[in-house]
Symmetry: C2
Subunit: 220 residues, 2 copies
């Protein structure tokens, strides 16, 4: 039970820092990469959604008697490293990151939330609500690929890098936070495939769906 509790605080702390830093990075991309004022404003809208999700998580951590700063601290290095290693160099890369990179990160939180109580699982779902982010990115990337089909190779490569770096940081976090890792790979009753194998099968499937939505190949 104390393992579950520390797993829950880890889950909410990780997700809170992910939303806080996601908010700040989207704001940076809006400020530095958006091609028009309208795009800048719309990406700012999406950043503000992440901030709202951050507040939900911070408030719940406080309600649970946890200190939000302490709950977030174990995840700062891994998430900051991920962002530093996947800094978009243009608007299209920023859009793909907002969809593919954020997408796989969210899949991890959803997986962990499968093994917490309905109250926390509901909060996690609320914090993961898409609220237009995917549509925003998919529409713009598809339109850009219609104008310039040869950008597809570069963006597919970029997507692989986003996912590779995400898996690498997830591995680092799982090693350092066993209670959180247990939420991800605990065996369910009556399932016989190894839990890690099932987890990666689901993550890969979701990633392939996103690549296909962008008009990119996951394997090319």
């Amino acid at each position: 039970m104390s393992d579950t509790s520390s797993g829950v605080v880890d889950l909410l702390g990780a997700l809170a820092y992910a939303e806080l830093t996601g908010f700040l990075r989207l704001a940076e991309d809006a400020a530095t990469l958006a091609p028009t004022l309208t795009d800048r404003a719309e990406l700012s809208d999406l950043a503000a959604v992440e901030h709202r999700h951050f507040r939900l998580l911070r408030d719940r951590l406080v309600e649970l008697g946890a200190d939000p700063e302490e709950a977030m601290a174990p995840f700062v290095d891994a998430f900051d490293s991920w962002h530093a290693l996947t800094r978009p160099s243009d608007w299209l890369e920023a859009l793909v990151k907002a969809y593919v990179g954020t997408g796989i990160a969210m899949d991890f939180y959803r997986e962990a939330a499968r093994r917490v109580g309905p109250d926390i699982a509901g909060l996690v779902e609320e914090a993961l609500a898409d609220e237009g982010r995917s549509e925003f990115a998919v529409e713009r990337v598809r339109a850009a690929l219609e104008r310039e089909p040869k950008a597809a190779g570069r963006l597919a490569l970029w997507s692989r890098r986003l996912v590779g770096e995400a898996l690498s940081q997830a591995h680092r976090v799982a090693a350092a936070r066993p209670a959180l890792a247990a939420l991800l790979v605990e065996a369910d009753e009556g399932e016989d495939l190894p839990a890690v194998g099932r987890l990666f099968a689901r993550l890969t499937e979701q990633h392939a769906k996103r690549m296909s939505a962008l008009g990119l190949s996951a394997s090319s």
Copy 2:
């Protein structure tokens, strides 16, 4: 009447861009200068308030039949220049900017809103609502000055630069946008001091109040 209307669109466009870019700059300061995760989170909260104010203004521009991007465009260069010329080099400078720099900018909008209808004036007041920004900055700057009194000279100099650059950009905007300038300096009935003189007297008085709240001298 058409002068007033273009003045109103200018006022809302200028304020909308100020809030949008204020949002993005506060987010940048939160990401790069906040000394703790809690400070980062709290400055992010203030940034999100600016984003909410931006949305109010953008929505009203759309209701008025104006294109928000076109309404904001005339102010981009002046506001971006102001931010580029007043980039804080540390957390204390960021806090002073959030209070003193944003304060004088808001005084300009309040002055212009004195001469528009109550409907627009009410919207401007809502968009200028402080929502904790001043208290956040004042508390932290005062505490820092208690620990390190000799920082006062540097921060007083920084404040003068913030205000000097703000007046310089305001002058540039007023020259380029006569309908907006007219809202600022139109003579009121029964007043005999020149309007520009009264405007600067009020701006100076408000600035001195802010400096005093920080524990800094406006003239030292």
